[in-house]
Amino acid sequence: MSNLLTVSPSPHIASEQSVSKMMYGVIISLVPAFLITLYVFGLGALVVTVISILSCVLAEMVIQQFILKTRISIGDGSAMVTGLLLAFNLPSNLPWWMVALGALFAIGIGKMTYGGLGNNPFNPALVGRVFLLISFPVQMTSWPLPVASRLQYVDAATGATPLGFLKEAVRGGVTVPEAMNQLPDHMQLFMGQMGGSLGEVSAVALIIGFFWLLYKRIITWHIPVSMIATIFIFTGILWLADPSKNASPVFHILTGGIMLGAIYMATDLVTSPMTKTGMFIYAVGIGLITVIIRVYGAYPEGVSFAILIMNAFVPLINKYIKPRRFGEEVKHG
C-alpha cells in the first residue's frame, strides 16, 4: 500500500446534510412564495428581491474581505437566505437604496458584528426590517395594491393591508363584521390576494414551503405549529368574548406576517432555542406578544417585534430548559 492511512477518532461516517445544503433548501422552499409574489406585486417584488439579495451577499463579502480579513464564506448560502427573507419582509414599492441600506444593516449590524454565521442573537433579516421600519415609517407602511399595480415599482398605487384597514376601522367606531365586508374573503387571503410585505401574502405557498423544509429536515414542526396555535387560541378567545371588536382567529393567522414569521423568521436556526420544550416556550411567547401588539398596540402588525423580543430570551431558555436526560428518573415499566 503506497498511501498513508488516515487515523481519526470515530465516527468514521457523516450524514449528507451540510450547512449550505440546508441554506439552499430554504431558498428552494421559498420558490412557490416568490412565484406568487411575482404574480401579486410584479416588477416591484422582483427589483426589491434582487437588490436585497445582492446587497446582503456583497455586504458580507466586503466586511469579511476588508474589515474582518477572514475567509469569505458567502458560498454557504446564509447571506442569500438573509437577503431573500429581508426582501420578503418589505413592501414591493420600497426605493432600491432603502432596500440596500436595510440589507447592509441586516448583515453588518445584525450578523457580522457578532462574529458572523452562528453567533448572532437576533434574526438578521428582522433586524434589517425593523431598522427600516423605524427609520422610514412612511415608505415602510405604504402597501402596493395587489395584482392591480404589478407593472409599477415605486410609483405603484397603494392601499392599506387588511390588518391596517381593520385597525383603523375599529378605531373609527366601525364594528369588525362591517369592516370585514370590505376585505377580501378567507380564500383570497389564503391564496395571497392582499396588500402586505412581498413574501407574506400567500399562506398556501408558505405552507408548501413548510412541508418542503420538514421533508428536508431543515426545521422541525414545533415552532411554527406552537406559534400559530397560540395565536389561533388567543385571538379565538378574544373573538368569542366580543366578535364586534375582534377579528376571527382564521383572519388573524391568514393576514400579516404570521405564516412567514412562524415558518421562516421564528425558525431561524441560529436564533431559536435548542430543545423541543424551549422551542415551545419561545413560540408561545412570540404568539402572545404578536397578538398583544396587534390588538392593543399602536402598530397593526407585531410579528417582527415579537420574534426579536423572544430572540433575546433564547440564551436564557437554553440555559434553563434542558432536554430530559436518559436515566434521570428511574422508571419501572
Binding site: V7, P11, L269, R325, F326
Partner: protein, 444 residues
Amino acid sequence: MLKTFKKGGIHPPENKFSAHNGIRKLPLPGSVAILLSQHLGAPAKVIVNKGDEVKTGQLIATGEGFVSSNVHASVSGKIAKIDDVTDISGYRKQAVFIDVAGDEWIETIKRDNTLEKDIQLTGEEIIKKINEAGIVGLGGATFPTHVKLTVPRGKKAECLIINGVECEPYLTSDHSLMLEKGEEIIVGIQLLKKALNVPLAHIGIENNKPDAIVLMEKLAAEYKGIKVHALKVKYPQGGEKQLIKAITGREVPSGGLPVDVGVVAFNVGTVFAVYEAVQKNKPLFERVVTITGKTLSQPANFRVRIGTPISAVINAAGGIPGDTGKIVSGGPMMGKALSDPEVPVMKGTSGVLLFASGESARRNMLPCIRCAKCVSVCPMGLEPYLLMPLAQKNSFDRLEAEHVMDCIECGSCSYTCPADRPLLDFIRLGKSKVGRIIRTRKKQ
C-alpha cells in the same frame, strides 16, 4: 408498532454487504500475537515462556484479580517471544507471539459439531467454566462475562437481554452467527439463565434481519422463557442502555448498571462463546469477524483465531484495494481507525472495515449554526453543541454538571452535524478528564 428506544438516534445507510455470505474459516496464519489485555480490567499474567510448545486452547495467561480474564493459545506451536505489539488503539501492549505449527488442540475440547442440549452443571459451575474459558463481552466492550454474571449483593437480576441488534452499519458477524449457530445460541441462553437464576430472556434483533428473527423465533418456541423482539432499525439500539429501554421500557439510572433495573445483557457472540465453553469445553480463542467495505472485492465473515494479523483477514477477502485510505477495527460509528494493518485480532474485534481515500478524510468544520440536530439525536439527552466548547475551554465543573459522563460515545452527534463539527472528539476528551477528576475526588 415495532419496539425501539424513544430518545434520539439516527439511521445511517446500512451497507450490510456481507449479510448473507455465511461464515468461513480463515486459514491459519504463520504466526499470531495474542495480547494480554484484550478485556476491560487488569491485563492477564503470562504463565508460559519463550520456547515453550503450546497447544490450541491451552491457557497462556491468567486473569489478575476479579475484573480480568484468562487468555488462551489460539494456535498450536512454539512461543517465539513475549514482546510489545501495536494494538488497535495505537499503543504498544504486551503480547505472546506464537509461531504456528500444525493445529493440535488440547484433548479436553469436544471438536464434534453435535448440539449438546443437556445442561448438567449448576449455576456456580457454569460461571466458573465461563471464567476459566476467558469469555468477555464480544459486542466490543470486552467486559469479563463472569463478573457480569456475579450480581452484586443487594441487587437482583430479573431477566436476561440478548443483544442481536448489530446496529452498526456494515457489520454482519452477529447476524451470520445467529443464522448458522441459532440453536447453540439458544442453549447458551439457557446456560446463562441458569447461571443468573432468572426465568426469562429477551432477544432483541433489528428488523433489517428478518431471516434471523424468523429463525430465532422458531428455535425459541421449543424452549421455555425465551422471547424474540423485532426492533425498529435505529442506531445506537445495540447500546446496552438503549436496548434495555427498547425491550423493557426501563431506564438504567445515570451512573448505574443494568442490574439496577433487574437486567443483565449479553451479545449473541458472547452467548455462543458461553455455549462452546460450557458444553464443548472450548476456551475463547476464535471469533467471527466481518471484513467489509465498499471497495473490497469479497466482503465476508470469517471465523478467525485471536491474534491473527488483521492484514491476513483482509487478504483472505481479496486484499487491500489500492486506494484504501482508512482501516477501521469495528463499525463505522464506534470503531477505531488503525495505524497499521498488522494489528492482531482481539476478542472484541467484531469487524474490519475499509474506506477508500475519498471517504476517509473528514470535511472541514464550519461554525455551529445551532440547528439543534445534535441535541435531538443524542440518545442520552445531552447537548453536544454545548459540551464541545465547554471541553475546549476546560470547564470541567460545568461539563460534569451537564452530565458529560453519561455520554456513551455513540457518535450520533458528530454524524449528524451539518457543520461537520468534531463534537464527539472534544466530548470524549472532556469526559476522560472529568472522569479522572471524579476518581481523584473519590480517593481523597
